[in-house]
Amino acid sequence: MDGMHDLGGKQGFGRVRHALDAQVFHEPWERRVNALYSLAVRLGIFNMDEYRHAIERMEPRHYLSASYYERSLTSLATLCVEKGIVTREELERRARGAFPISAPSAPGRTNVAVRERFTIGDRVRVRADFVPGHIRMPGYIRGKTGVVVGESPPYPFPDAHAHGVPAEFEPTYDVRFRSEDLWPNSADAALVHVGVFQSYLERA
């Protein structure tokens, strides 16, 4: 989905709030959220792709205003409700107030049927796919051409794995793009590498 989470290349944001003693956690509840969502993964309630997608499905204004760990919390609650572990009513009764959860999921998809095997140095194009469900293709590479510089071991296909759709494992390719190709005349010169699933690619 072309969601609010897909931030790469979005303009208008200010300086990074960098600090040399940057914190990982600010409040004790953030540590608890981190542990609780990891417990849910360990218990098999959901996988990491489902977890990421439930964050992407947050109401956009909520997504932008929530801290990282509030997004984690919202995904955890959403999936526990959707999987029948707990009802939203129980959560709201226990929280003594409204407990916002993410919007329902659209259908996922399985791997592309005919996938090409690439080798380092191959020129590839990212398919111009538009899907309503989970996808790990950032919008800024859609339809763009780059060069394969690395190959990963096979992973579960996220567009399926986030939706309980059966799918094959497939490799990802580290694809090198030139920032001038991604944002012509509108980017600092750099090589931008993206881990792209095989199903998203075709030979250029």
Partner: protein, 197 residues
Amino acid sequence: MSNDDTHPNIAPVERRVDAIQAAFEARGFKPAEVIEEFEHLTEERWIPDNGARVVAKAWTDPAFKARLLANGREAVADLGLTMPAHHRHLVVLENTPTVQNVICCTLCSCTAFTIIGLPPDWYKDLEYRARIVRQSRTVLKEMGLELAPEVEIRVWDTTADTRYMVLPQPPPHTAGWSEERLAALVTKDSMIGVARL
């Protein structure tokens, strides 16, 4: 999120965490034990000292460095360092005098957290995620890393379950130093690639 017209009476975030934790407790999931376990993991195990050891070893042991660049996950396992099951691949990116690698995750906030430590707050912020892929030289300069024009910037967006870490260059005047002394110089920022040593 504050209360507004679209979401009246939202419970404070801490009470929402309490609610999930209590629901887990009621179902026998033993959340308190896991919270305590994670206190230990996040404070003592998933720390940048791990990555610093990896970097210092690579600086002083060419055979290890070659293994690290060829297969990061296996090489760090030689040092007793583990990665979660879903982090199936670790790609180590070597800086040179004319190449600066920098990692990010524009879609969420993925990192090789068991090796370089949990991501700092700014890495997860909207600003870094939106800008580093498109305005890399400007953002690095704003963060205190002004690179000479001949230095090529290579940004790596963590969009799959491959994890990346930057192998920084050793600081000048450290030839002959022990691994331990070198490791003390290595920062999380240098392994993300927003600082040089």
